[in-house]
Symmetry: C2
Subunit: 259 residues, 2 copies
C-alpha cells in the first residue's frame, strides 16, 4: 500500500482569542460580534476554524432559565440534599430536565446523557458567566445547527468560508480536570481517519481515528481562558474543511464499553 499524500493537518497552527465581544443577550447577532472583534486581528480568513463557547451560543439562543421559574420535583430534592454538599433542588431539576438518561449519581453530582447523546456532568447546565447569579444556561437544543447558522452568517457578513465548532468543558472518566470538546460543528470533519493507511514503516495503522474537533476545541480553550470573557477563538492553519456533525464524536451505545 502506498503512502498517502498528507493534506491535513497543516504544519503550523495558530490560535488566538477574540477580545471585546460584549455580554450577550437573547437575539443578539453573535456572528456580527465575532466579525467586529476579529477586525483587530485582520479579520477572518478562509479555512479558519471559529471556536465558540457553548455559553455564548446558548445566551443568544435564549437557552437561559431563571432559577425562580423552576419547580423542583421530589427526585430533584432527594438528589440535591442526599450528599454532604447541598445543592439547590431547582438546579438539580434543570439538570434532570436536560437529561435523557442518568449515567451516574453521587449526590448532588449527576452525570447525564443529554438529549444530544453527550455524557457529561450536570447535563451541561451551568451557572457561571450568566449575567446574574440566579440564572442557568442550558446547552443549545441542536449545537450542530447553531454551528451551521453561525457559519452561514459569517459567510454572508465576510465572504469567508470558515469552520465553526461549538464547545463545552467536559470532565473525563479516569482523568482529573476538564478539557474543551466539540458539541457542535459545521464546515469541518470532526474525525480524521487514518484507517488502512500505512505509517512511515509501511505498517498498516489501526485504531487511528483522531477526534480533531475535540483537539481544536482544546487548543482554543488554551487561549480563551476562563476569566476574560473571551468566548470565541480562531484556530488557523489546519486543513480540516469538510462536512460533518459533532454527533460523529458520540460513541454509539452498542460500541460503548462503559455503559
Amino acid at each position: 500500500m502506498s503512502r498517502p499524500v498528507r493534506t491535513a493537518p497543516a504544519d503550523d497552527l495558530r490560535a488566538f482569542a477574540l477580545r471585546g465581544i460584549p455580554e450577550l443577550r437573547t437575539g443578539d447577532d453573535l456572528a456580527a460580534a465575532i466579525v467586529a472583534a476579529a477586525v483587530e486581528r485582520g479579520g477572518l480568513e478562509d479555512g479558519d476554524v471559529v471556536v465558540v463557547a457553548q455559553k455564548a451560543v446558548s445566551k443568544v439562543e435564549g437557552r437561559v432559565v431563571a432559577l425562580a421559574d423552576i419547580e423542583a420535583s421530589p427526585r430533584a430534592v432527594e438528589i440535591a440534599t442526599a450528599g454532604e454538599q447541598q445543592e439547590d433542588p431547582r438546579r438539580v431539576q434543570a439538570i434532570l430536565d436536560e437529561t435523557a438518561e442518568v449515567v451516574r449519581v453521587r449526590p448532588p453530582l449527576v452525570i447525564s446523557e443529554t438529549h444530544h447523546g453527550f455524557v457529561c456532568a450536570s447535563a451541561g447546565v451551568d451557572a457561571s458567566n450568566t449575567g446574574g447569579q440566579e440564572r442557568l444556561v442550558l446547552l443549545p437544543v441542536d449545537p450542530d445547527a447553531s454551528a451551521r447558522g453561525l457559519r452561514d452568517r459569517l459567510l454572508a457578513l465576510t465572504g469567508r468560508t470558515v469552520g465553526v465548532i461549538v464547545t463545552d468543558s467536559f470532565g473525563r472518566a479516569w482523568r482529573t480536570g476538564t478539557t474543551d470538546i466539540a458539541i457542535g460543528c459545521a464546515g469541518i470533519r470532526p474525525l480524521l481517519d487514518w484507517h488502512g493507511h500505512t505509517d512511515s514503516d509501511g505498517y498498516v495503522l489501526h485504531a487511528t481515528t483522531i477526534a480533531i474537533a475535540d483537539e481544536i476545541a482544546g487548543a482554543a480553550e488554551l487561549v480563551r481562558g476562563k476569566l476574560d470573557a473571551a468566548p470565541v477563538a480562531v484556530v488557523r492553519g489546519l486543513a480540516v474543511a469538510g462536512e460533518g456533525s459533532a454527533q460523529e464524536l458520540v460513541m454509539p451505545k452498542e460500541r460503548d464499553l462503559f455503559r
Copy 2:
C-alpha cells in the same frame, strides 16, 4: 473577591511539528535530535513546550519487545481468541504484563489501568511505527522522569528553559476517536485551577480545573499528524511554566465515579 490578574494562558498560541527527526533506536540522544530538528525553525525558545510522542521516548529508552520473545499465558490465549476478531496471544500477553488492573475486556480488546494509573486501551502497548512489524512498543516506565530527563538535556544543549510533555493517543469513554493526552510532563503545571476565582460577572467559578497539559498534547497532535514520522512538536506562546507531574491528571480511585 477581586478579579485576579490573568497571566495564563497567553493570547496567542503557535504549534509546529519538528521535521526530520530520524528513526530512533535504544540509546539515541532524543534531545540532541530535537535540537537539530529545531534549527530550521529558529531553535527552541524559553517557555516553549516540547511535546514528544511516547513512542519516540519508549524507543530511545529501549521499551521495545520482540513478539517472538513473548510466551502467552492461558489467559492471554483466551482473551486473544474469544472474540470475533482474533489477536496474537503474545500481544495480549504483553498488554497483561503492562496492566495493573483490567478495567474492561471485550475480546480481544483490553482496557487496562497501567502500572502508572493510566486507563487506556491495550495498556498503551502499540505495534505501529516500531521499525518492524514484529515488535511492540511499551509505555515508558516513568514518563514524568522521561520528560524531566529530556528537559534537563535540552537545557544543557541549548540554554533554553522549556516544558516537556510526553504524550500518547488515548480513547475516551462515551466519545469516538482518540485525542493525545499527557502521560508525562516536566517544567509545566498540568492543571490550571480557577477554583475560587471570579468570572467576569463576579460569579465564583466552580469545577474549573482545566487539564491544560492534555489540551497542549492535543494541539501538538494536530500538527504532528500520524504519517510523517514527526514525533515532536513545539507549542509556543503559553505561560504554563511551573512544576508538576502527569500523575496529577490521574483521577484518584476514591473520587472516580466510573470504576
